[in-house]
Assembly symmetry: C2
Homo-oligomer: 350 residues x 2
Amino acid sequence: MLRRLRISSGPKHPANLKQLAAHLGLSTTTVSRVMSRTPAAARIPAATQKRVFEAAEQLNYQASAVARSLRQKKSFTVGVIVPEISEGYTASVLSGIEDALLEQDYFYFVVSHRHRPELLKNYISMLQSRGVEGIVAIDTPLDGGLRIPIASVSGHKIRKGIVNIVVDHNVAAHQALNHLASLGHKKIAFIRGQAFSSDTKARWRAIRKVAKELKLEIAPERVVDLRLDAATSEPGQEATERLLGQTRDFSALFAFNDLAAIGAMATLRQHDLRVPRDVSVIGFDDIPSAATNYPGLTTIRQPMQQMGRLAAQALLEAIRGEESHHKNFLSVLPTLVIRKSTAHPRSDKL
Amino acid sequence: MLRRLRISSGPKHPANLKQLAAHLGLSTTTVSRVMSRTPAAARIPAATQKRVFEAAEQLNYQASAVARSLRQKKSFTVGVIVPEISEGYTASVLSGIEDALLEQDYFYFVVSHRHRPELLKNYISMLQSRGVEGIVAIDTPLDGGLRIPIASVSGHKIRKGIVNIVVDHNVAAHQALNHLASLGHKKIAFIRGQAFSSDTKARWRAIRKVAKELKLEIAPERVVDLRLDAATSEPGQEATERLLGQTRDFSALFAFNDLAAIGAMATLRQHDLRVPRDVSVIGFDDIPSAATNYPGLTTIRQPMQQMGRLAAQALLEAIRGEESHHKNFLSVLPTLVIRKSTAHPRSDKL
DNA sequence: CTGAAAGCGCTTACAG
DNA sequence: CTGAAAGCGCTTACAG
């Protein structure tokens, strides 16, 4: 008895279209038209429209998006696929995606595949059964062949129906290497990305190209790869440990991303190498902690929010079939952010 | 003509239930039963079931989740509301939520309200029209009265239908203050949270209570509030600037969260105060950059992923109407993580 | 063991 | 200007 009382004292149960129409003495057709502001609504007298809106308010009516989806075969929903929800990079891109999507009344599901292909496959199929109209993939290679448009942040697939938002790696490599070279660095070590990172190859290719242009030699023993799979500074620490096992003969270090750079700094410190006195360190991304790190991390900033925005916008355009915008690549400019982790090399290190 | 060709060469259009049933010469009833593994399916011959599954595979059939939602009045979807998608805290909690949700085939929409009440209200109503079965709110006070269950991470609302996942602030305060006191600190400064943070009041209340127990005096001039609204270390810098304007007579600083602590360290450094030699700093949360910060940040760890998990699980239980689990508060234990930012006070600072 | 039929809550082509 | 009716793709109570 008490329970019954409680429940009935809750907020009013919202009405559905049929109830609202009955309440107004109108057809569901008419009510639907005014509520969804369809073109046909123009022909409905203002007085009637007003009545409808007021009654809707009063009866707490709100059209069911799921019924509408079924009828219109349009879900106003997209899927966002990420490796994992983590610090910095993913979060910033997500935030840009959300901005662009919600502006257009689109909602999104997010799923993280944790680099497990079977999970990824499963999620894609679940997303499709939920009727998403498109997918934006962050740092996740997708096959295409999905019947729905895809926008890929940091992807590099040339396939119809996929638009890739990428940072201009050539410019990035030039900014970084030129900065180091102009400080006087010649012996530069590199931490490359993990194989699963979609930017790894393109970034390295650009670095080699630019190094050649700047006549900087890349010594094999000064190159290591990130091995561990974690969105922390761990992989960078582990890689730096290996690097130091191979050689200590370098005055600068270019890390695949900021997390790795921050990890590298910790490991260098443990080996009594000071940054930037003994080794200059430069990262990539400009995640929030790059600025608060001590010393402040010099890095190549990717406009991550903007990339997320662009991806979402391109996806919506593709969904709407605006073929004019169907480019395969949308490239975005990086920025060199100079902080305290880079300096002239010590003279004995030249 | 060319376009037409391209399109038809794409992946096969998936079949719907009707087509699949026709293909098999069975009723939609039967096919639906086997595909959704309904209890009634037990009575269907294994051979038939096999045929159905094979045909489904072949015709690329997958039940429409939106049609099912409409029919069952169940969306298998919840909404997640956050202030913003940002570093550390939110991302970790989200990740725990995702874990628990996807295990149960629930998907989630995320929306960020950026501390704008009208946005929040709007999103809640959109989520409801999309038929979410519940909402988990992160660091966002919700009124209740929504007709669907709510799980709140770091919330403090006592209302039927809301379960709050909170860290035990008394234990946290005890860990932090006891750590500082046992190092010998007596003059402790505090940076409190912003008014919009749902933990602000509870945390401060606990600190005062524990300070009294430990016979530590809290001097008003050693207390400042975070003012800025940003998920960066900025607010902490600004607050520390004000604190130093009020007094320099403190040997330790307890910041509302790690971001603020990291900002405080930057500002202290600018004022030539070294951490931990001149000032010990302790934070709250243990976000990833707490560990990579230099010096490593001593902090009170909130088990953020676990809190997200718990919230999602409690929400699912409430959705299923498992009243036995209807508690208003689920409290979780913090951990003191000692790193390098705290030490004994200098003797002249005592 | 199996199926015909109703219905979830909308939108919209069609008719008047 | 307005409405009756069909239908989106499922599930499920009911009947046999």
